[in-house]
Amino acid sequence: MIWRMGLLALLSYWRRHPGQAVTLVLGLALATALWTGVQAINAEARASYDRAADALEQTTRPSLVPSAGDRVALEDYVTLRRAGWQVSPVIEGNLSAGDTRYSLIGLEPLTAPAVPRGAGTGAEGLSAFFGPPGQLLAHPDTIAALAGDTDLPPRVASPDLAPGTLVGDIGVVAGMLGMGDALSSLTVLTGQPRDDAALAELTPDLHWQPPREGTDIGGLTRSFHLNLTAFGLLSFAVGLFIVHGAVGLAFEQRRGLFRTLRALGLTARVLALLLAAEMLLVAMLAAGVGIALGYVIAAALLPDVAATLRGLYGVPVAGAIALRPEWWLSGLAIALLGTGVATAQYVWQLARSRARATAIPRAWARASEGALRRQAVLAGAILLAAPLIGLLGSGLAAGFSLLGAFLLGAALALPPALAGLLALFERRAKTPLTEWLWADCRLQLPGLSLALMALLLAVAANIGVSTMVGSFRTTFTGWLDQRLAAELYLNLGEDARAAELRPLLDATAEAVLPISAVDADLAGAPGRLYGQPDHATFRDNWPLLAAGPEVWPRLSTGEGVLINEQLAYGADVAPGDTVTVDGTALPVLGIYSDYGNPRPQAIMGLEPFLTRLPDAPRHRFALRVPPETVPEVMAELQAAGIRPDQMTDQAALKQVSLQVFERTFAVTTALNILTLSVAALAILTSLLTLAALRLPQIAPVWAIGLTRARLGALELVRAGLLALFTVILALPVGLVLAWVLLAIVNVEAFGWRLPMHLFPADWAAICTLAVLAALVAAAWPARRIATRPPAELLRRFADER
């Protein structure tokens, strides 16, 4: 009975203060929402990667690939099968429909290790899959995108496939790609032992390729998701401050009630349990709202994230969010954890306190100089420890621990720093009013400090992440300009065709630069080796990060190779060292940046390359033509029988890349605004709380002649100033955050380091936005002061002890 009465008494507080109840639930819900939304996006992306990897089992199995060229003869397949080899043929190619490129895969379902679900469903069974006209299996999103395309075989939905991939019978796909009897590779089935000698005897043109570690798309995009997760965690940290503030307020204001309940016979233990139960209730409610909100956020952002991942890494991700327990459970957990962290301290104190002591105001809004000093020391210690974590640890975990420690230290350092700043201004104040303003600011600081710390974190996170994304964008587009220096790229598919068309190309373009590449073993890992002609296009534009002397002449004479940054990090080599290419040690002449590619890569001069690999394919070209003539040249080449999908217009390619980045920005901006909103909410709750507590301070000022309107305006000024100071202090914190993300987290996750670019205009925008948010949050409390009835202010004096 007493339990029920006690709980009702506690809950009645919220009925009398619905605003506070809403704030508490909303703060916690918003924090949970951001976290959950990010987790949902990550979970969906991961599920897509797994689908892509599993559905065809191609990445997880070894394969037999041509030693030269990119075709496997059908006879080689039959020869191997007739020798008892367990292999299955695969054809891969691209399909352009509209302005989208799809990856098209042909499987032989009788021998394939796996066939996506959906194949051969229906009354006609396998014959429907074989055709004619055959079937193309695809993710429902892809089917929707291709709806109405009547030139393609009928599409069938398969839950196993990642978006952007079409799978058909090998015969159907061979026909679509004009492959004739040629195959792309042979997948090696389980149980087939590696026997290179037998392979060399049976099919000398093929070699065994181990499963490609480098195509682990989960690893490739890890950095992107880690950044998203970091964003989610920061948002949650910001939300935690709100919850902490709201819970603290609720406890402080109910001390009288607690005393009454204790006097009525409720033991401290029961009271603590009741409060814990109440908070659990609040947490569950907030978690529900937060998870729902998170779903909305994720659903709104996922299409952009999917576009980013597809554009950046060629990773297909579904455009719809599924309700996966892994993310909504994590949302629930974080809401409970957050409430627990915010509540534990109070419940613990209550459970141990004597009955009367519960009534003594702990004055959470009152701080001593000593407390601030202790906080400053703690902050300093944490800030000093942060670099140590970075130095001692390694890997992503250390990178994130460093970030966490640094942000915590910075947040803790904020109130002492602000107090010092305000004290400085107070000493320099010229008029009594400004002196009072600074002093009053300082008095308010402890009550606002949690909210201001939240603002600091939000602004720092925004600056950090936007700097990182912006740096990435600048670097990547600059790099694209360099790497895609030629105006037109051709892939003619076959060497014979290329030889036939070569005279036409020579006559059409200012320069025809052949490109040839083969898979190669680079420093013990599977990678790709390119042959590149000696031409000004490359000499002038190629993005070298480090180079030895005479790079280009030495490259063209075969004295060494250029390697990409990933290979340089992986093999730990620098110009002047050597790196093994298919077992031969070659000097490293230079290192180039190679974003968006997870695998090791090396470049050799074209002539030494072809001498070494006479059978390498020779059907890809870069063409230099005057940029304005690109459409004409393309039309001319098309008239000569070159298909549009065999030509890539550099400008078009760049445009696609830029679109991708705009979409990335859309995600970042959305998250920026959301975290700032959470911080603004924190300021609002804190100011509302303070407004009630501060009457004793305001009443005398009103009594000596300041109008209520003026007092309200000063209230706004004060909030704006505090926000401004906080934002200014957040700037360096955000830049350090960006540096850690770019120089530590990215290198760990990606294998490349991005140069940091500074975007002062962005900072100005974020800071303005943050101050505006603070002003909006302060507007309501300020108005309440400005419109407070004089009688209430007068009563203050009567109430004063």
């Binding site: 089992e57 059908l74 006879e75 397949y77 039959v78 099968r81 007739r82 020798a83 008892g84 032989e108 379902p109 009788l110 021998t111 394939a112 290790p113 796996a114 066939v115 679900r117 194949a119 051969g120 469903t121 229906g122 009354a123 006609e124 069974g125 396998l126 014959s127 899959f129 074989f130 004619p132 019978d169 090998i170 015969g171 061979a174 026909g175 009897d181 389980t190 149980g191």
Partner: protein
């Protein structure tokens, strides 16, 4: 992987379907759209008819052998190449509508090994060539080494393997080809469903089995069946029980019963030791199950009584290994048997439609 393999099997089941309700075993009761239909009084032409008949829906080259090992134990093997057509024609390359699949079984008293493989027609991974004769799929093969001028089936080399076994056998015929049913026209129902069916039941066998414990030299007798059709089953027929028996006196007996919702439809051929062949029609042979074996929840009659009063035959059969279940995607029971009663000897039993 397993899930994927199951998926593939389900998918294949649509093409070479296992019993669907009212469809009969292997979907063979379905309409013959465009496929040729066997006609009575066939005249076979060799070597052409040893080869494939793509205008028919289904066809097989089927060898069973009862073997005695040098270790004194009994063994049995099965080697079957199936052809299943999606359309009544053949084309080169991936466009070929012909699908090939093959089953290999090796039965010991304790174990039953199964191998299976599949291939597309048109690309050379599987097929049948008549001159010189060769039937193959992957590295499984049945190759003629007949003397010039002799029937291609008079001498064959047979090989197949599975994940944990392999065999290489030499088959030498000691009698003529035998035309089952009525001169090779084998009725499967009272309403006229039929197949073309001939056999070579007179093989002597020598060769080697490769088992997990090591190789074993074997000798014995083998029986080759050639059969093709487009709709050998009625829609209400659910499966068959089929016997090929080597009698100790040198006679051969082929007998089968197609099960349906009524008494079933039975046929047999009695072949004397010198190859004289007489047809025994429905009603003249009775099949009575005597004992059952539970195999993964299926109840399979593995012991039988077979009676042909007109020939004075009344025998009871015993399996060498009652668990000779072919867990292939078209699942069935197939294994060596021995029999006693009015006659004794050994043979092979195949039972479909118990899956």
């Amino acid at each position: 992987m397993n899930a994927d393999r199951r998926r593939l099997l389900q998918m294949l089941a649509c093409t070479l379907p296992v019993p669907a309700l009212g469809q009969g075993f292997a979907g063979l009761g379905s309409d013959a759209d465009g496929f040729a239909i066997p006609q009575p009084d066939p005249s076979f032409r060799f070597p052409a008819d040893h080869g494939a008949h793509p205008e028919f829906r289904i066809e097989w080259w089927y060898v069973t052998a009862i073997l005695d090992g040098a270790d004194g134990r009994q063994y049995g093997i099965q080697w079957t190449l199936f052809r299943s057509a999606l359309a009544p024609e053949d084309r080169a390359g991936w466009d070929s509508p012909q699908i090939w699949f093959a089953h290999a079984g090796l039965t010991t008293p304790e174990r039953h090994f199964v191998g299976e493989t599949l291939a597309r027609g048109g690309i050379g991974q599987a097929g049948v060539r008549t001159d010189p004769f060769e039937a193959w799929i992957d590295d499984w093969s049945m190759v003629s080494r007949a003397r010039p001028g002799a029937d291609a089936f008079s001498a064959l080399d047979l090989r197949a393997n599975g994940p944990d076994f392999a065999y290489t056998l030499a088959l030498d015929a000691e009698g003529p080809l035998v035309f089952q049913g009525q001169n090779g026209f084998s009725l499967k129902s009272a309403t006229g469903q039929a197949s073309y069916y001939y056999a070579q039941p007179f093989y002597r066998v020598t060769g080697q089995l490769d088992l997990p414990d090591g190789p074993i030299d074997v000798t014995g007798q083998a029986w080759l069946d050639r059969e093709w059709s487009s709709q050998p089953l009625e829609a209400n027929q659910t499966g068959w029980d089929w016997f090929s028996l080597h009698l100790d006196g040198g006679e051969k007996l082929m007998a089968f019963r197609l099960r349906d919702d009524g008494p079933g439809y039975a046929q047999a051929n009695w072949i004397t030791a010198d190859g004289e062949n007489s047809h025994i029609g429905d009603g003249a042979v009775t099949f009575t199950p005597l004992g059952w074996t539970d195999i993964d929840g299926r109840r399979v009659p593995t012991e039988w009584r077979l009676q042909i009063p007109a020939r004075g035959l009344d025998i009871a059969t015993q399996p060498l290994n009652p668990h000779a279940w072919m867990g292939t995607q078209l699942a069935y029971w197939e294994g060596p048997i021995s029999f006693s009663g009015s006659h004794s000897g050994r043979g092979y039993l195949e039972m479909t439609g118990y899956d």
